[in-house]
Subunit: 247 residues, 2 copies
């Protein structure tokens, strides 16, 4: 039988998963922050990613809905605050819509999600269902991709501001706030799973969960690339960039 | 408000969805039955599609598990018989494994599903969750793609037998049995939804369900094409064809 990992060993194993599978390694990410995307491709990315943003609070509320520890619920509630905001204090979803607005997308078309790639919908729903159906340990562990998200956000912001004249700091306000929030959440979650995974089987479940979550993010970029880059086959019913918008 | 469709109008609308979105229109299907797939691509298709086959009985059992009409449960039970078989009478899943065996895939690698494309897993799970979570009407309607499946199966069998020397009638025994089963099931389901969708809203839900189901099947072929044809990017951890198996 495999032995229990030390906290440091567990963290190393988790960082290995990120190094091998996090979506900063995906070619679409390189295209996006490297300025090789057409405006239509950037629009497609933002429109599809909106669905991920919009479903995050449902995922978090589902987790809290079966969490019996008030302290964990209080900690987790910060995520709802971050994403849903308050009157007069826009949350992450609202700030994401500033991005899609800035890219010239119709807000109703974005929020209706009717132009999504089906693969986006299926990947995001897989994440939501995972959090609803697996153990609380796995539900918490599924956010551990935030251990790696600050770097990708910083790369994305700098690259998009440099390369796309229609992207301004105001349009990217979503990303301003995320790195400290993500770091706070990732530190908390890593400490929590380290404390609560008390068997090797549970530690392996934490590692498998991070792998699953990386697959979710990766498959979203795969679907974007397939539809809008190469071979460029847009599935029936999905968003079609305006061919006269040639930037 | 939209008016109720006649049964003939509803059927026409459903057939329109199939004509526009069924996966017989996907280029990967044309490659597969047209003999343009390498053996590795045929293997990848069969290995990924196995997961769909394997999850069908769970989907059907979930439907029966919330169906209060014994007559509908009895009718639906035929599907479990078809897929799961009996001792001495192999069902559809077992016959699908004859295909993956015949293609030289390790049976344990197939049934473990550890080499799946994540997008396959997410699409199939979206289908299973849809059947579990939506109305019984939508759950039944989600099988209506079988209205179109006989034709694709016949094309696939004839094309694969003609073009791939390692594909024999015995290896394709899965497909022998499916057309009459699918036709029986599709006729039953079409009649059932026609009777039970008694408002225009319900009829629209039936049509939307068929659209959803076509998206599931389409996105599975998109993922295969992206990973194994063009650009040929296999996601981390997924099946990698043996490069020395050059057929």
């Amino acid at each position: 039988m495999s032995e229990l990992l030390t906290p440091a060993e567990l963290e190393t194993r988790l960082r290995d998963v990120g190094r091998q599978r996090y979506h900063n390694l995906h070619p679409f990410h390189a295209m996006l922050h490297g300025g090789q995307c057409s405006r239509g491709q950037v629009q497609a990315w933002a429109l599809n990613r909106y669905y991920y943003q919009a479903m995050i609070p449902l995922k978090d509320a589902s987790l809290m809905g079966r969490c019996e520890d008030p302290a964990l619920r209080r900690e987790w509630r910060k995520r709802l605050d971050d994403h849903d905001g308050d009157e007069g204090r826009p949350g992450g979803i609202e700030r994401w819509l500033k991005l899609t607005d800035g890219l010239g997308l119709d807000r109703d078309a974005v929020t209706s999600t009717r132009l999504l790639l089906p693969a986006t919908r299926f990947a995001v729903q897989a994440y939501v269902h995972y959090v609803r159906e697996r153990s609380l340990l796995e539900a918490v562990a599924s956010c551990l991709t935030e251990m790696f998200s600050s770097q990708i956000i910083i790369e994305r912001m700098a690259g998009m501001l440099r390369h796309y004249d229609y992207v301004t700091p105001d349009v990217l306000s979503y990303f301003d706030k995320r790195p400290p929030q993500a770091q706070r959440d990732a530190s908390f979650a890593l400490e929590w799973v380290t404390q609560h995974a008390v068997t090797r089987e549970q530690q392996d479940a934490v590692i498998a969960t991070l792998t699953f979550k990386c697959d979710v993010l990766w498959s979203m970029l795969d679907a974007l690339h397939h539809a809008y880059v190469s071979p460029g086959w847009i599935p029936p019913g999905a968003f079609v960039p305006d061919p006269t918008d040639g930037r």
